[in-house]
Amino acid sequence: MNEQTIQLLPFWYFHLPNYVLAALMYTLMGRIILGAIAPAGWNNYIMRAFVTVTDPVVSVVRFITPHAIGLPLVLVFGALWLMLLRIALFLAMARYGVAPTVGGGG
């Protein structure tokens, strides 16, 4: 077990949800970029994986976004909502003094 693993373990309650949110956020960004450059109806396995993983997030964001906003912008909103959630998670942890801190120099 190296030093980095030891530093992560005590704050697993922050790192685990933060990692999941980050993975969803970057997968959604990948979906946005691939959707912008790929041809319509492209059935590539990577695109299918991105769509499958991010569809639950997109459904939730679609629910809280007015109909006037089209799907491409809903995807952008989804990435921003996930970033907001990550920041809110960190601020909530910091508020109660349980957030991970940056280690001091050696």
């Binding site: 629910f63 809280i64 007015p66 970033m83």
Partner: protein
């Protein structure tokens, strides 16, 4: 583009320019600013303004979207746009002081 959406976007853009939250977004730049982009103040403030305007649209849109789902409306209508515009105006209110200061010099 419907008039309501233009109004909502216009007010959100104003908020992006004059909101006190702009300072907070600029402070958080080390978190969100991509390292690939040039590290210039102009681009930083442009993107920060864009983020504040987009967040204004997103947050103010939640009550309008919930109204649309509960009412079963197939598309945005006058009432949902009114709720959205009201939300954007509420979020833009703290920036009015900055707007007046900019107008009066």
């Amino acid at each position: 583009m419907p008039t309501g959406l233009v109004l909502v976007l216009g007010v959100a853009m104003l908020n992006g320019l004059f909101s006190p939250a702009l300072r907070i977004v600029v402070l958080f730049a080390p978190v969100w600013y991509p390292a690939l982009l040039p590290q210039t103040a102009g681009l930083l403030f442009f993107l920060s303004s864009l983020i504040v305007a987009t967040l204004t649209l997103m947050i103010a849109g939640v009550p309008a979207a919930i109204y649309e789902r509960l009412s079963g409306a197939p598309d945005s209508n006058f009432i949902s746009m009114g709720i959205w515009l009201f939300g954007v105006l509420i979020l833009t209110a703290p920036g009015v002081v900055n707007m007046l200061a900019a107008l009066t010099g």
